[in-house]
Symmetry: C2
Subunit: 251 residues, 2 copies
């Protein structure tokens, strides 16, 4: 009997061409599929909840695969971790109904974007936090973010033009000073954004555009105009991949 | 007129053979001295407050050097950062009296040791946080740490045997769950330890020995016995360098 196995996975995306297996370059799902082949002898197809871009990190990626293997479910994390490079770790494994699909069954995807807002970059967080040296007005950015909440046509914030269905619903978009005690950094701004799904590059374009509000280059109400323009050129450049992390997936 | 310049420096120690310049391998001070040579044309001798070991990080190292250069004091951070690799950053520069010596004038050195205490390691923090999968009793470790506070002969915790003056004074040694929000990790234990100076490998040996208390292999009172033994063999193995970070120096 085939089994459907769900994995909870974390990775540092720095050295990968994103999640999704491609023909040639090293990807996270390709690396996991190779480890699964080594373990089970099966060429499985791993379905990830989110196709994170090149350089984006994950601490709560979910993926599933169908297998005939008789390996005990609980053995997958230690066995896979012994085969994987140190920048990918499998935390949990669980048998799920055959109908479960990591991508299509997902109800909510939660991402975080971190910014280090001080004059010089930090050598300790450079792989995970984007450095922005200029002053940012947190309150203005929060005001701008309100226009993005709820259901909208997000064409202006998508790198895929035209998209056959550019309507998305943002359930949460918080902006706050992150707790500084853990690594001593005192000027970290955390964006957290949750939606059932996102358009390509949508989060990084949203953060980049809100930074213009924070820099007082855009009024907060400009966000509403950009949404209504339905034109990628009206929004700002996206922020770098390294500050983005897939936090968790809810089903 | 020569000037004495004090620098505030952060670095990721992963790829360096420690702070102190040696004949051959790449060190943090050697790399900084090369950048200073490129900038000023002078072969300066950079004095660091703490000679951090190979692989140890710093977010608040202090160093000074004497120069005849006429470069404006404020120009050092941006000029040096443009010459340095990304894993070393100079945050501040300041002219100080010629009598100031980063190492001998230091009144307090504050270090932090981070432990990720959960079943699997994290790919996102593996360079900065040591992974310990077994359960640790925080209260027992705190109790054991009390014996180390104040002035003692720390021979048992030093890798330099015999040391001509093994007496040191620990002003603070706190152990707590670190704030988890910044990188989503929920099981980080933070050791913070402050003293005017430390013996070689003293902090990592102290943390390693306290972990034995946390694992219930040693009673907290065993720490007192280890101190009194004045014998390196009585303490435990030191913990890995990657979890250690020089937080700040007070003058």
């Amino acid at each position: 009997m085939p089994k459907n196995i769900k994995l909870l996975i974390a990775y540092e995306g720095t050295d990968y061409h994103g999640w999704q297996r491609q023909s040639d370059p090293k990807t996270v799902s390709g690396t996991l599929e190779e480890a699964l082949f080594e373990l089970t002898g099966e060429k499985v197809s791993l379905v990830g909840a989110s196709r994170t871009d090149s350089g984006v990190h994950a601490q709560g990626q979910v993926a599933n695969f169908i297998t005939q293997s008789k390996i005990s479910i609980k053995a997958y994390p230690p066995a896979l971790n012994s085969l994987l490079p140190r920048d990918i770790v499998v935390y949990e494994s669980q048998e799920v109904p055959l109908s479960f699909h990591a991508r299509y069954s997902a109800k909510l995807r939660i991402y975080r974007y971190l910014i280090l807002n001080k004059p010089y970059p930090s050598p300790l967080s450079r792989r995970f936090i984007t450095h922005i040296p200029y002053n940012l007005d947190l309150e203005l950015m929060k005001e701008g973010a309100k226009y993005l909440l709820g259901t909208h046509d997000f064409t202006s914030f998508s790198s895929c033009q035209p998209h056959q269905n550019p309507v998305r619903t943002i359930d949460r978009l918080s902006i706050e000073k992150a707790c500084p005690r853990e690594n001593g950094e005192v000027s970290i701004i955390k964006f957290e954004i949750a939606a059932q799904s996102f358009l390509p590059h949508m989060i990084r374009t949203i953060v980049g555009t809100l930074l213009k509000v924070g820099k007082r280059k855009f009024l907060p109400s400009k966000i509403k105009e950009i949404l209504e323009a339905r034109n990628r050129a009206s929004a700002s450049q996206g922020v770098p991949a390294c500050g983005l992390c897939l936090v968790s997936i809810e089903y």
